[in-house]
């Protein structure tokens, strides 16, 4: 009789304890992004910080994701008020230099900040090898499901978001992800003018 009761209690209690235990392993602050694997949201943003060398873009130029079809794009959202962004700045600049000639484009996107502050911050940090773009009213940030900075998105040659990194990104993560994306075959045709048509293009291969 007691064994019966104990087993009944266990049947009820074990799943509840397991569920609560599983909940403890999760970070409630972390929002799982549905974007990886999907077509990267298209954007068209103006350059406010030019970058240097191979990654240079003139200030005021408009950068469109659609213009980078067939290239790997790293999109790093940052802000001058973000302390963690300082930790990754040098790493991003250095890795951007290394991958500039390999068909990888780096862009910074200013989040919830004004370009003047951004330019001042870049100068204070000793420059930035890749250009930074302004995102008025954070529309692109919302399009990418951003909830804080820094966040870095890796967009593959097929125009899909391959990976999203939350927090300061390390050189190892950058190199690993970029190497794996460069190892993938480039899409056959570049006729699309929008990243959203990527699924059609890949399904035709």
């Amino acid at each position: 009789m007691n064994w019966k009761r104990a087993s009944s209690a266990a049947v009820v209690a074990i799943p509840i304890i397991a569920l609560l235990g599983y909940g403890l392993t999760l970070d409630p602050k972390e929002i799982p992004s549905p974007l990886p694997g999907r077509a990267a949201p298209a954007f068209s943003l103006a350059v406010f910080a030019e970058g240097m060398g191979a990654q240079h873009r003139a200030s005021g130029d408009t950068v469109r994701l659609a213009d980078h079809s067939g290239e790997v794009v790293v999109l790093n959202f940052w802000a001058s008020w973000c302390l963690a962004c300082r930790d990754e700045h040098t790493t991003l600049s250095d890795v951007s230099d290394v991958y500039a000639g390999k068909g990888v484009k780096f862009y910074g996107v200013l989040y919830n900040d004004v370009p003047n502050n951004g330019t001042r911050w870049i100068a204070e940090m000793g420059g930035q090898s890749y250009p930074s773009l302004e995102d008025p009213r954070t529309r692109t940030a919302i399009d990418y499901g951003l909830y804080g900075v820094p966040e870095t998105f890796f967009i593959g040659r097929d125009g899909r978001v391959a990976y999203k990194h939350v927090g300061p990104v390390s050189a190892t993560v950058l190199a690993t992800k970029l190497d794996s994306l460069l190892a993938l075959p480039a899409p056959g045709r570049n006729s699309s003018d929008s990243a959203r048509s990527v699924p059609v293009r890949t399904s035709g291969q």
Partner: protein, 170 residues
């Protein structure tokens, strides 16, 4: 008995209907007269009302959708209640999309596509999410059954004699 009781009611009722029927008729005539005279004015008033409440309606719809979306910064608040700048911008997106003719469901779907179902303050009642809705009911029903059983056990007087003995335990 019942039939006789009904007859007088019908009779008096009929008289009452006839007597009271004058008032609605008079009211209808007055309304028609007044209506024909003031119909143009009322139409204008209605049109003005639609125009003036157009923005208010958009605000209300924005508030309604924004109240259902979780703020990614505060997480416990809706973007309607959150003071964070991101929430305010997201509310702007809601408003813009509603103004562009998207339905509230389409606007919510846009945010689900970007942030996942996490963005909804109330998860949709389908699939695994049903657990959230069913578990409390199961808990209440199960708990109630346990309490009922325990109360019955406590309040039932113990049986005397051999029937209450250790027989069943062996």
């Amino acid at each position: 008995m019942i039939a006789t009781a009904r007859r007088p009611r019908r009779g008096t009722g009929g008289q009452r209907v006839g007597g009271r029927g004058v008032a609605p008729l008079l009211l209808a005539v007055l309304l028609l007269a007044g209506g024909s005279a003031g119909s143009a004015g009322r139409l204008c008033a209605q049109q003005v009302e639609v125009v003036t409440t157009g923005n208010r309606t958009l605000d209300e719809r924005t508030r309604d959708v924004a109240s259902q979306l979780r703020c990614p910064v505060c997480q416990g608040n809706s973007i309607q209640d959150s003071p964070s700048e991101l929430a305010q911008e997201m509310k702007g997106v809601v408003r813009d999309q509603l103004a562009a003719g998207r339905t509230p469901q389409e606007v919510k779907q846009y945010f689900i596509d970007k942030y996942g179902e996490w963005i909804l303050l109330e998860p949709t009642a389908s699939g695994f999410n049903l657990v959230v809705y069913l578990l409390p009911i199961v808990g209440v029903v199960g708990g109630g059954a346990l309490i009922w059983r325990a109360v019955r056990k406590w309040t039932t007087p113990p049986e005397t004699g051999a029937a209450a003995g250790p027989g069943p335990r062996s």
